[in-house]
């Protein structure tokens, strides 16, 4: 197979050609050094796609076993039912021992294989402890250029939602009745308050009612001790769903849409902040704290990232440039 020209593929990606989208995702996953420039070029050509600008990037996160895959499938059906297209990024952990992974999200989903408007890709975290998979940031940008809604499904309570905040416009946290840990995390401010709270398996009626009440209490406590959400003027709704019975799904989509409308005026700034954070994460992953201090510390690096992203750099190309600067500085000092 000849190496695919990223820019050529970009036109096909914009049309939602599944083979092209898949190849673009293969490329963003490619860790070889010679792939980096091509990824940067691809993302640069997709960045201003109409779908990317107008679309919605949703993060769906929560502890294992709460039914996120089944919920994702139910959301996908409902979104398609409303005539919008959707791309899904499903992230599962890799084995620390073998580096391999079992990507099982598809097993819980049933969908029409001939549907051109739904695309699901599974990613392994590949040793990125606590974080999103290496390629997820780029993958979201590829899918955002091709589909109206991009949903990123991740497991975990703790570090991974902090990452998902940088890539998603709206973060929905899914729990099931009786999730005491999540309540504690919320109250203690270990996690940021999500944009939407979902109590799945709400078919367990009594338990679900109690879970909603507990969450309301936890939110009040969190507010009282000064834990903030991302938006001061948005009141986090608490919704009950049953992915198996299909109840509450339409309401969830309404809430996602309402949040998307709510943040419209600040969306560009919000995504810009996410990009800055992504640059910093990538750079730190590569060069560690030493890299950050060599380039004059976090505050200076953040300011520079903000500036240069404004000047038209993409996060990946900017990271390459920072790397070159770091290496050059090292050479000068040695």
């Amino acid at each position: 197979m000849p190496p695919n020209d990223p820019v050529d593929d970009a036109a096909r990606v914009l049309r939602g050609d599944k083979a092209a989208v898949s190849r673009a995702l293969n490329l963003v996953e490619d860790k070889r050094a010679n792939a980096h420039d091509r990824v940067a070029a691809l993302l640069a050509s997709l960045g201003s796609a109409p779908k990317a600008l107008a679309g919605h990037r949703v993060g769906l996160t929560g502890p294992p076993g709460v039914g996120k895959s089944t919920l994702t499938a139910a959301i996908a059906r409902a979104v398609r039912g409303r005539g919008r297209t959707m791309g899904v990024v499903a992230v599962d952990p890799s084995s620390i021992v073998s580096g391999g992974s079992l990507l099982g999200d598809r097993a819980r989903m049933s969908f029409d294989p001939s549907d051109e408007g739904l695309f699901v890709r599974s990613f392994a975290t590949a040793g990125e402890v606590g974080g999103l998979a290496y390629a997820v940031n780029s993958a979201v940008r590829v899918l955002a250029a091709a589909y109206d809604v991009v949903l990123i499904e991740t497991t975990g309570v703790g570090q991974s939602e902090i990452d998902i905040v940088h890539v998603a416009d709206t973060v929905a946290l899914v729990i099931q009745p009786g999730s005491g840990d999540v309540l504690q995390f919320l109250k203690a401010g270990i996690m940021e308050i999500p944009d939407i709270l979902v109590v799945n398996k709400a078919d367990q009626k009594e338990l679900a009612r109690r879970a909603v009440a507990d969450l309301q209490g936890a939110l009040r406590t969190a507010h009282a001790v000064g834990v903030a959400g991302r938006n001061d003027d948005w009141e986090t709704p608490i919704l009950g769903t049953s992915a198996t019975e299909g109840t509450g799904i339409e309401e969830l989509i309404d809430a996602l849409d309402a949040h998307r409308r709510h943040i419209e005026p600040t969306l560009a700034a919000r995504r810009h902040r996410g990009d800055v954070q992504w640059v910093l994460d990538l750079f730190r992953r590569k060069h560690g704290d030493h890299g950050v201090s060599t380039l004059h510390g976090l505050a200076e690096l953040t300011a520079r990232a903000e500036r240069e992203l404004d000047d038209g750099q993409t996060p990946l190309s900017l990271c390459e440039r920072l790397s070159r600067d770091y290496v050059a500085t090292l050479r000068q000092t040695s």
Partner: protein, 668 residues
């Protein structure tokens, strides 16, 4: 002089052969022959479309019609199945679960046509949906809807068909999925508790009559080659069931507390290598469920010696029936009271199993019970881990399997000299004929009666009325199996169960002969990843309706453990879905697992669809019960590798798979 331990000879257990294939009339002939050979009960095997609620002309039924059992699409088929066999006199066991309520309704409708007395009907509907989610994979609906069907059937028969066993709680399939004796005991018992609690919650059975329900509960158990331990397991079952029925349900009548069970002995341990040895395994396993009179099976069916090779022929099944008859009629076993009464050794092992199983029962109940433990994947994950441990001990030689990992040299077996003829082949035109017959049936029935019956069925499904009367009416009206199931699907939806593989821990699942071998495989994969830029990604797919997912699960876990990124899709995925997944996921390799014998229909279709999608450069391997002649045909059609039960060395399979990806990468 000491009193003799002998007494009047006991009545033997019911002897059955799990049988049925292709058409109703062909199976009817088989039943008549089997009864003439001295079989005392019928055990009906249904094909997968019937078990999962599809008509023969449904696209999902392609390749599966009449394969692993008989196709029953409507009343006419069931009538033909029992032609000349008066149902009042039969004792019929039906291996049917998701569509059990429908098959029982058809059975009652046939009995009504024969003017048989409903109260005289005897037999069993398996009707245990929990183990379908865990092991056998023929479920259709979400757990709550499935439990409703289960309890509808039970609450109907307990008064209307009082001699019917409405449910057979299956520990059988748990063992096939890898359960240890403790797990087999515990998970079967929590299933029974889940069902009884659900029946009680319907409020249809007055508390004073609840004993009747408990008394009709029966079990379907497995027996493996460790037959002493298995004997103790059966004694443990008897003791635990007595405790549960007494303490949890307050049943005072000892007859209603009796642990009633039928058996099919272990198929999991039957080998493809030196297959003649299997008849010896089967006989030893039968001892486990017959030796102890106090824990003796009420009905036994034995697998055939050549099951790992393909479908058994009538002669193969006859050989297994003869084994039962020799034990029951020639030997003196039935002349004695319980042989183990007072045995300290047997009692100690029994108590050990009782205690460990009781602890596991409590654990699952604390997690919310059987249904909850299915939905969270807890039990499934435990089974997957146990099975991985079992395979590991065979691969390492710790568990000896004669002809497989020990004493593998031997003279060639005359029984399999002509392998082609050593198994049954199903007439490939069956499917077309079944579709034509179904079209005739649809054309000849009263369309408005059908419409009315379906509307009524849908109304009842939305209510909390019992589904059985409306189903019997639908059977008489000529409604088909697919129509019945689709009506309920439209109300309740479908369910994809947890696979248990993602959570199976590396420590518990780590397989392989030696850690060095695994390390070497991991290094090769890491090196390949560096060259390819991406970690090799492997799609494991189970096309068709077959739900036996052990093989696919173990390959998926093993591949993860050597370092592949594995996309596992669960059971019952269509060829279209597999190709769509391969495209969207950007995989480097596809593995297909098929045990129902439909590989010649499904695999070429997938290969062709991959070609159309421009993905023919992805190597495809296939695993399953695949006769060599079929394997050769698949290889000719572009399949890169075929694996059968004799390929027990997972490390070798993994090494082959890495080679395939490496070669493909080098070619690009």
């Amino acid at each position: 002089m000491a009193r003799s331990g002998k007494h009047k000879r006991d009545k033997p257990w019911i002897m059955r052969t799990y049988a049925g294939h292709s058409t109703a009339s062909a199976s009817n002939e088989l039943y008549r022959t089997n009864l003439a050979k001295g079989q005392t009960g019928l055990s009906v095997a249904f094909d997968l479309p019937t078990q999962t609620g599809y008509d023969p002309d449904d696209p999902l039924a392609r390749g599966e019609v009449g394969k692993v059992g008989v196709s029953i699409a409507h009343l006419g088929d069931l009538r033909a199945l029992f032609e000349g066999l008066p149902l009042e006199k039969m004792n019929t066991s039906m291996t049917i679960n998701a569509t059990a309520a429908w098959l029982l309704s058809l059975y009652i409708a046939v009995a009504e046509d024969q003017n048989a007395n409903r109260a005289a009907l005897r037999g069993t509907t398996q009707n245990d949906i929990i183990k379908e989610y865990l092991s056998r994979g023929t479920h259709i609906f979400p757990p709550a809807a499935s439990m409703r069907l289960t309890t509808d059937l039970i609450t109907y028969t307990v008064n209307e068909v009082p001699k019917w066993n409405p449910i057979n709680i299956c520990s059988y399939h748990l063992q096939e999925a890898g359960a240890t004796p403790t797990q087999e005991l515990a998970y079967a018992l929590v299933t029974a508790i889940g069902v009884l609690d659900a029946v009680r919650a319907t409020g249809r059975i007055p508390e004073s009559e609840f004993g009747k329900v408990v008394g009709r509960m029966s079990f379907f158990v497995n027996a493996g080659i460790r037959f002493v331990e298995e004997t103790c397991k059966m004694r443990a079952f008897v003791e635990l069931w007595d405790r549960i029925t007494r303490e949890r349900y307050g049943i005072t009548d000892p007859k209603q507390r009796r642990f009633r069970y039928g058996v099919q002995v272990n198929s999991l341990g039957l080998t493809e290598q030196q297959p003649e040895n299997n008849i010896i395994r089967i006989v030893l396993e039968m001892l486990a469920v017959t030796l102890s009179k106090d824990a003796r099976a009420r009905a036994i069916q034995l697998p055939a010696w050549n099951e790992a090779l393909g479908l058994p022929r009538p002669w193969d099944q006859q050989w297994s029936l003869r084994a039962q008859q020799i034990l029951a009629y020639e030997s003196d076993l039935l002349e004695y009271e319980d042989l183990f009464k007072g045995s300290e050794v047997v009692e100690a092992e029994t108590q050990h199993l009782v205690e460990s199983a009781w602890a596991e029962v409590q654990d699952v109940l604390e997690r919310g019970g059987a249904v909850e433990a299915v939905e969270t994947g807890y039990i499934k994950q435990k089974l997957v881990e146990s099975n991985a441990a079992r395979l590991r001990s065979i691969e390492s030689g710790e568990q000896v399997v004669i002809g497989v990992n020990a004493y593998t040299e031997g003279a060639p077996s005359p029984l399999v000299e002509n392998l082609e003829e050593a198994i049954l082949t199903v007439d490939p035109t069956i499917e077309t004929k079944a579709i034509e017959a179904l079209e005739r049936w649809r054309a000849e029935r009263d369309a408005s009666a059908v419409e009315h019956a379906i509307a009524e069925l849908e109304r009842v499904a939305r209510s909390d009325e019992n589904i059985i009367p409306a189903s019997i009416a639908a059977a008489h009206a000529g409604v088909t199996t697919g129509e019945w199931a689709n009506t309920l699907r439209s109300v309740w939806g479908e369910y994809r169960a947890p696979t248990g593989v993602a959570g199976a821990t590396v420590k518990a699942s780590r397989t392989g002969a030696a850690p060095e071998v695994v390390d070497r495989l991991r290094k090769r994969l890491a090196e390949l990843e560096a060259r390819m830029g991406r970690r090799p990604k492997f799609l494991v797919g189970k096309p068709g309706l077959d739900g036996h997912s052990n093989g696919a699960e173990q390959i998926a876990i093993k591949a993860r453990d050597v370092g592949f990124d594995v996309v596992y899709e669960g059971i019952r995925v269509s060829p279209e879905q597999i190709v769509a997944s391969a495209l969207e996921e950007g995989v480097h390799l596809i593995g297909l697992s098929i045990l129902s014998g439909s590989h010649l229909a499904l695999v070429p279709e997938i290969v062709e669809r991959l070609r159309v999608a421009g993905l023919s450069d992805i190597p495809v391997v296939v695993g399953g019960i695949i006769p060599e002649a079929d394997a050769e045909r698949l290889r000719q059609q572009g399949v890169a590798g075929v694996y059968t039960p004799k390929d027990f060395e997972l490390d070798q399979i993994m090494s082959d798979l890495i080679d395939l990806v490496d070669r493909q990468h080098a070619a690009e």
